[in-house]
Symmetry: C2
Subunit: 274 residues, 2 copies
C-alpha cells in the first residue's frame, strides 16, 4: 500500500515525491509550511491551519497553486487514500524552481502525511527542562522552514540534558523552536509573548479556553519573570500543553494549573469540530 | 549534451538531480554550501573554498560523504564532463533524509555547475545602491542556505530602487546577503566587519592584496562611519570588487580606490594558480 503524497498537481507514491535541486528550499532554505493533526481521520482545527498557511504564503510572497477550497479537497482525498488515522498532515510551499538560484519561481506545493511523536507520559507528569539561548527567529509571524538555529543547537541541548530550547533576546522570551511559551504568575495570570513568536493554533485555543477561569495576557515576557512565576508550560499541535519543570538552573515547584489546562484542552480537543 | 550533476555517489543528468521531500533542506531549510568560479575551465581559489566548505560542514554538524581529495577528484570530473568554461560550481551539503523531519540524517551531497550573472559595466563604473535593514544572519561564520530574510526583502529592495541589501544590527554593519562590505576611510584605511560576517574568500584576497598599499582593519564597523567614509565597496566571488555609490540616502562622492583595488584584484585573479 502506497503512502501517497500530493505534489503540485497530482498524487504520487512517496518515493516519487522528489524535488529538483533547483528548488529554492534546497538552494536557499526558502519555504513555508503548516502542520495539523488528525483525531481518527478528522483534521483538527483545519480552518485555523489553513488561515495560517495562506497568511504565511502571502507574507512570504508565495502564491499557492491551489485556492483554499481546492486545497481542502486535496487534504480530504489524501486522508482517504492513505487512511492513516491519528497522524499529522504537513502542507509545504517553497520558493519553487528558481532560474537564477535566488529569485522566487513558481512555488512548489507538497502535502504529506506523517506519524509524529507525542511527549512521553513522564514528560507530561513531571514537566520538561528548557535551555535558553540568545536568538530571535526572523519573521516570527510566518511559519517558515528556517530551523537553522534549532537544528544547529541540538548537540548543545543534549549536552545540557534539556528537552527543548527557549529563545530569549535582549532579556525577553519569544518562543521555543516548535512551541509557544506560557508562564503562570504568582497571582494565577497566564502570560505569553505577544509579538515576537509564531501565532500558534494551540496557543490561541489555550488562550480561549483559559479565559473562562484565568486572566490572560499577551505581552512582552521578560526572562526574569520566570523567577517569580508559579509554573511554565509550552503549547503546540503535537505537544498540546506540556508543563515545564526547569529553565536553565531554575526549577518550578508545581504544575497544577498546567495540568488543569491540559485536562480542559483535552476535553475541548475531543469535542472539537473540524 | 547533458548538464551533469554529482549526487551523493554518482553523476546524474540534471533532470535526475532530485531530492526526496524528506530531505532536511526541504523540511527545515538545513544545509550549507560553497560556490567557486572558473577561469576558463580552471577553478579559482579552490583550496580556500574547500577549506570553507569543510569548515561550514563541520560547524553545522554535517559529515560530508567524501573526503577532500575524493571531492576534488569529483570536481575535476564534473568540469571535464560538462566542459562549461567561465561558469561556477556549487558544492551543497544538506541535513539529508530525516527520519523524523527534524534530526539530521545522512547528509545529501550535490555538486552542480551554473552560469552566473556578473555586475553590469554601468554598476562597476558608477557603483550600486544599498538599502540597509536591521538584521544579523545567524551563525555568520557558516555559509548556510539560510536566505529567508534576503529573499523576503527583495520586493522592498526593488521598491526602494536598491541593487542590494546591507544588514545592520544595533548600529553595526555586518554584510550584504551574498557579499562582504568594506569602507575606505578619510585617511585611506580599508575597514571591514570582523566577526559577524561570512569569512568571504574574495574578502580575504582583497585584504591580502590591499595590505601592500593600504592600512587594513578587520573590526566592528558602525553604520555612522559611512558618513565620513570616502568610499564603500562590496566583495564576492561573482562580483569581485563592486563600488557602492549610495547607502540609504547617503551618497559617496568617489570610487577611485575601489576601482584601483578592482584592477589589482583582476591582475591577481588572472594570474592566480588553482
Amino acid at each position: 500500500m502506497h503512502n501517497w503524497v500530493f505534489l503540485n498537481d497530482r498524487f504520487v507514491p512517496e518515493n516519487e515525491a522528489v524535488l529538483s535541486y533547483r528548488d529554492l528550499s534546497f538552494q536557499r532554505g526558502y519555504g513555508i509550511f503548516d502542520f495539523f493533526r488528525l483525531r481518527g481521520n478528522t483534521p483538527l482545527f483545519l480552518e485555523d491551519h489553513l488561515d495560517r498557511f495562506y497568511f504565511s504564503a502571502e507574507s512570504a510572497h508565495l502564491l499557492p497553486p491551489l485556492e483554499r477550497e481546492a486545497l481542502k479537497a486535496v487534504v480530504f482525498e489524501l486522508l482517504n487514500r492513505n487512511n492513516r488515522p491519528d497522524t499529522g498532515v504537513r502542507l509545504s510551499l517553497t520558493g519553487g524552481y528558481s532560474e537564477d538560484g535566488f529569485n522566487i519561481g513558481k512555488p512548489t506545493l507538497l502535502l504529506s502525511q506523517h506519524p509524529f511523536s507525542a511527549p512521553t507520559e513522564k514528560q507530561v507528569r513531571q514537566g520538561i527542562k528548557l535551555l535558553s539561548y540568545a536568538y530571535q527567529r526572523p519573521l516570527p509571524q510566518i511559519k517558515s522552514i528556517d530551523y537553522l538555529m534549532a537544528i544547529w543547537l541540538q548537540p548543545k541541548r543534549i549536552e545540557n540534558g534539556a528537552d527543548d530550547l527557549l529563545y530569549v533576546q535582549d532579556g525577553y522570551i519569544s518562543e521555543c523552536p516548535r512551541s509557544n511559551f506560557f508562564l503562570v504568575t504568582e497571582d494565577d495570570r497566564l502570560v505569553t509573548p505577544a509579538q515576537n513568536a509564531l501565532p500558534g493554533i494551540t496557543r490561541k485555543k489555550v488562550l480561549e479556553i483559559a479565559k473562562q477561569k484565568f486572566i490572560t495576557e499577551e505581552r512582552p515576557v521578560a526572562y526574569e519573570e520566570i523567577f517569580t512565576a508559579k509554573e511554565a508550560f509550552i503549547t503546540s499541535t503535537t505537544k498540546q500543553i506540556l508543563p515545564v519543570a526547569q529553565i536553565d538552573s531554575h526549577s518550578f515547584l508545581q504544575n497544577r494549573i498546567s495540568h488543569q489546562l491540559l485536562q480542559l484542552f483535552k476535553t475541548y480537543w475531543t469535542n472539537a469540530l473540524v
